[in-house]
């Protein structure tokens, strides 16, 4: 078992070495290797860009949903948990959680408007009247 664990660790090291080696490859080499592996480089690259865009969009959707309900979230205060990320509204303290892989959101912050927001603040528009 110890030997197996040892081999698992070595396999991990090997794969990590391959990962690192990819980063220092020239553009021509990575394009050639991708083509040789039977994959269309352009297509795979755009698929990868899409993965990045979708991740950004998922994060956007959470923030926009919270913002539309008037919740104030410190975008840097998301905590990592067992089921994705969670945080609380700075004003009313309600909770929200979202799962990174699916973008699924849950929590009481999504149930209602933040009623405590702006209770005492005077807005420029109101103040000018």
């Amino acid at each position: 078992m110890a030997d197996k664990k040892n081999h698992d660790e070595r396999l991990e090291i090997i794969m990590n070495q391959f990962a690192e080696s990819v980063l220092v490859q020239s553009d021509a080499v990575i394009l050639a290797e991708t083509s040789e592996s039977g994959v269309d480089p352009q297509r795979e690259a755009e698929q990868t860009r899409l993965v990045l865009r979708q991740a950004s969009k998922r994060f956007d959707e959470v923030n926009m949903r919270l913002s539309s309900l008037g919740h104030t979230i410190n975008p840097n205060d998301w905590q990592r948990g067992q089921r994705g990320y969670h945080t609380t509204c700075l004003t009313c303290g309600s909770f929200v959680n979202f799962t990174t892989t699916t973008g699924e959101m849950r929590g009481d912050a999504l149930d209602a408007l933040c009623l405590e927001r702006d209770q005492y603040a005077i807005r420029r528009r109101e103040g000018s009247r």
């Binding site: 490859q25 394009l31 480089p41 690259a45 755009e46 860009r49 865009r53 410190n74 933040c114």
Partner: protein, 350 residues
């Protein structure tokens, strides 16, 4: 009297260490700020400058549009929702305020990918802010707190970087993620290289303005390197969280053999066999990887050498390979592993 130009070679341009700047907004960190309120202007300009932007300002929507037409593109355009149409006209707060939105619409029509932020500080939340459907995706600042703006600036910057990634850069990120996940073996728990990359980007956005949480992106670091570093630390974290004694799931094993035939991992295990678990465990990632190189002796030798902890020099010596042969073999291994990842297509174990 005829004049003739002396025949001579044009003078060589002086050698410079840096390329000559073209114009101010050629900087990748240029911002256009459209704000008429002096105190807000100073605050927002300082916020942008602190984030490393070279800022150009306009006090009304007409001037903003003129500046945009002359100097675009900008890394970001920040527009106050209540900005007047032109100078000298006071804001009538009882009238519908449309000039900030009008300017954002005009800029969006000129360049749909232009990063824009609207400061709607007169509204309690984004849902209250009237704006046309085509601008619904534009982020709003409804709170003057610095962290909201800073986070949006990073988001726009990250989105810009995503669009600027070249094909080879994207392929490198893809391969990097695939190899890292493959190295995790069971600890990957069915996650793929795409999941790893996606998580790396999310952590970047979450750690936008805070080096203590998420994965803060230091703008001096190349974006590809940053994402690779994030993937590395996330995969290490996944590994640490994994409990070696977790039971194997049937879904963790390949459902198709090398010929594409569907197989159950239990197909070849006799009923009542005493060591069913052991039979399954043997079919782990290492065996799968080695099995891929059954028909390539040199590749199998190199992999075994690496698994035995040999250095490259020791591998060359043991198997009689020269440097070029070793490099070519490593390349074959990478290509074949990439093909294997690509052929999987589906999410492993899901």
């Amino acid at each position: 009297m005829a004049y003739s130009l002396p025949c001579c070679k044009p003078p060589e341009p002086p050698e410079t260490l840096f390329p000559a700047p073209s114009r101010i907004n050629a900087s990748p960190k240029s911002a256009l700020l459209v704000e008429n309120d002096e105190s807000l202007l100073n605050f927002l300009r300082r916020s942008l400058t602190d984030e490393g932007y070279a800022v150009r300002t306009a006090a009304n929507s007409e001037e903003g549009l003129r500046l945009y037409r002359d100097c675009a593109p900008f890394a970001v355009v920040l527009i106050d929702y209540c900005v007047p149409q032109r100078s000298g006209i006071g804001i009538d707060y009882l009238a519908p305020l449309t000039h900030g939105i009008g300017l954002a619409t005009a800029i969006h029509e000129i360049n749909p990918s232009q990063g824009i932020i609207i400061a709607a500080l007169d509204y309690r939340n984004a849902a209250e802010v009237p704006r046309p459907q085509q601008l619904m995706h534009i982020p709003l600042v409804t709170d003057i707190s610095n962290f909201q703006l800073r986070s949006l600036l990073t988001k726009i910057e990250v989105e810009r970087m995503i669009e600027m990634l070249t094909t080879p850069e994207l392929l490198k990120l893809r391969r990097f993620g695939d190899f890292r996940v493959r190295g995790l073996g069971r600890a990957a728990r069915g996650r793929t290289g795409e999941d790893l990359l996606s998580e790396a980007l999310l952590r970047t956005l979450i750690g936008a303005g805070n080096s203590q949480k998420g994965r803060h992106w230091n703008r001096d670091v190349d974006f590809v390197r940053h994402l690779a570093g994030a993937m590395q630390s996330i995969s290490n974290c996944w590994k640490r969280q994994f409990n070696e004694t977790e039971a194997y799931l049937v879904s963790e094993f390949p459902k198709h053999d090398e010929d594409g035939q569907e197989r159950s991992p239990l197909d070849n295990v006799a009923a009542g066999h005493a060591a069913v678990d052991q039979c399954l465990i043997e079919k782990d990632e290492q065996s799968r990887v080695l099995a891929m190189f059954d028909d390539d002796r040199e590749a199998a030798q190199v992999l075994w050498g690496l698994l035995d902890g040999l250095t490259k020099t020791e591998i060359m010596s043991r198997y009689g390979l020269d440097k070029n042969k070793l490099a070519a073999t490593e390349r074959r291994i990478r290509v074949k592993l990439a093909r294997k990842n690509g052929n999987r297509g589906e999410k492993n174990g899901r």
